[in-house]
């Protein structure tokens, strides 16, 4: 079968210390997407993590402004410092076609907790804006606490590590309907996609390549040849992410 893909886990820009084969800008990303027949991507800029969230968000805005196949993902910091979250934040998101937010508590030295984010996360829940969590940046204990405090928050867990994390993730999928798992490392686990679909359905898995750090073919062929129905594959490859984007209220 032929699938169309919506990539939820890709960044552009040149990292301070290169890893993989960097994709310098949005034009290069579009070329990569065409190579792999990826129709749309939710993209962030590496400077958001490694340089400055504020500056990185701006770099992203410029890169994607004329690229309709690219949907933006900003990085946030604690609202109290007003470095990123200021007045008109959501208007600016809408203006720049930003549909999701990333957090890097480890790199940016803050605590992901209701003390910091309570009022802001309540707004994210009202607006159906997903938060993308790189699990290398936050412990599972903290993710559990976050979801206990904000059970309706939509979270996409990405880069879930190379060891099977079923023991961490399956309880979250069972308890919280707003939790989604991205495939660039879920697909690495033998049975990662199949066993998750069997227990929790295909609505909870989002396709991602991990570009530019991972080989996109790995995630693509793992989904193409997973022992699940074609309908499940279509949801994971494209429809689930499309649905999340369409439900964002800005």
């Amino acid at each position: 079968m032929k699938l169309k893909f919506f990539d939820a886990n890709v960044y552009i820009g040149q990292p301070t210390i290169p890893k993989g084969k960097p994709i310098k800008n949005a034009n290069e990303l579009i070329k990569e997407m065409d190579k792999y027949i990826i129709e749309k991507s939710l993209v962030w800029h590496i400077a958001q993590r490694d340089v400055s969230p504020e500056e990185g968000n701006e770099l992203l805005n410029k890169e994607i402004s004329d690229k309709k196949r690219l949907f933006g993902c900003w990085t946030i910091l604690p609202p109290q410092t007003e470095e990123v979250i200021r007045q008109n934040f959501f208007e600016q998101m809408k203006k720049n076609r930003i549909y999701a937010l990333r957090i890097f508590p480890k790199s940016h030295n803050f605590i992901l907790d209701k003390i910091v984010f309570k009022d802001f996360f309540i707004q994210l829940i009202e607006k159906n804006i997903p938060v993308i969590i790189d699990t290398q940046q936050i412990s599972y204990e903290s993710i559990y606490t976050l979801l206990k405090d904000f059970p309706d928050l939509e979270c996409i867990l990405c880069d879930i590590g190379i060891w099977s994390v079923n023991r961490y993730i399956w309880p979250l999928l069972e308890k919280f309907q707003g939790i989604f798992i991205e495939t660039s490392l879920l697909a690495l686990e033998d049975g990662g996609i199949e066993e998750t679909v069997k227990r929790f359905g295909s609505d909870r898995i989002i396709f991602g390549t991990g570009l530019p750090e991972r080989y996109p073919e790995a995630s693509i062929v793992s989904l193409l040849h997973a022992d699940i129905s074609d309908e499940d594959k279509e949801k994971i490859a494209y429809k689930n992410m499309e649905k999340i984007i369409l439900q964002v209220k800005l």
Partner: protein, 264 residues
């Protein structure tokens, strides 16, 4: 049809068998593997055209009470699909003596040894491995070692010492001294009997397979997956995604393994 197109279309190759020289079996304390029995594993191997898996059972590696018996039983169940590494736990010298006797009596089961020095916390250069090293050297066997960058037990320096000493052993650097890629490549260049292994490598960094092929040569790379840890489709996808030749891919998928196993 090119390998990439064929795999995209059919999920396996018609003329390119897969030999996986780095596998395991059974459950494991540190992670959940939903499909870890010999029967489940064979079914998945057949789906993706994996002709042979050489493995060492988790129970062998972590339970001296069970030892290599479970390897022997599993290969006997599916002799066309599996071969085993005789697992060595250096903390139990009396068991090693028995392991070597078992090896002699089960030459159709074992193709070499597996050392897991980082986990057992005994360097691969330690005297306690000596009987197994000498046995392997005498019989031109494979030794699959877990190797990891920066490790005092099985890092590049320790591998070098062993490679200098045991020139007849085919040393498979499991995980290719993970993270210290340049040192692993250098070892494979310096010693004709030292090989790089892809297990836990291409998921780490796009472009690493191309680097291995360019600097070490595809003849020095073996296909390993830690199966049932990792997914065959994912690893095959990384090799298909790498910008290397079809011949390089075939070397990695089966030709190198066939050559290594033939010499035993």
């Amino acid at each position: 049809m090119r390998l990439k197109e064929e795999f995209y279309q059919n999920g396996k190759f018609s003329d390119c068998p897969i030999y996986d020289l780095h596998g395991h079996m059974g459950s494991f304390y540190g992670a959940h593997f939903p499909r870890n029995s010999p029967e489940q594993m064979v079914k998945i191997m057949e789906k993706f055209g994996v002709k042979l898996l050489v493995f060492c059972h988790h129970f062998t590696l972590f339970s001296p009470d069970i030892g290599n018996s479970v390897n022997i039983e599993s290969v006997k169940k599916f002799p066309d699909k599996f071969r085993a590494y005789c697992g060595i736990n250096p903390h139990y010298p009396e068991n090693i003596k028995k392991d070597l006797e078992d090896f002699e009596q089960n030459k159709d089961i074992f193709v070499g040894f597996k050392f897991l020095a980082d986990y057992h916390r005994v360097p691969i250069t330690d005297e306690r491995y000596k009987p197994a090293w000498e046995f392997a050297d005498k019989k031109n066997l494979l030794v699959l070692m877990h190797t990891w960058g920066g490790s005092p037990s099985d890092g590049p320096q320790q591998v070098r010492k062993c490679a200098e000493k045991y020139k007849n052993v085919k040393i498979l650097m499991g995980h290719s001294c993970h993270g210290e890629w340049d040192k692993a490549i250098k070892l494979s260049q310096d010693f004709p009997n030292v090989y790089l292994d892809l297990c836990a490598v291409p998921d780490e960094e796009r472009g690493i397979i191309e680097k291995f092929v360019m600097e070490a040569g595809s003849e020095k790379i073996i296909f390993g997956t830690d199966f049932p840890w990792f997914n065959y489709a994912y690893y095959i996808g990384t090799v298909l995604g790498a910008e290397i030749s079809e011949e390089d891919r075939k070397n990695i998928f089966f030709k190198n393994a066939q050559r290594l196993l033939k010499k035993i």
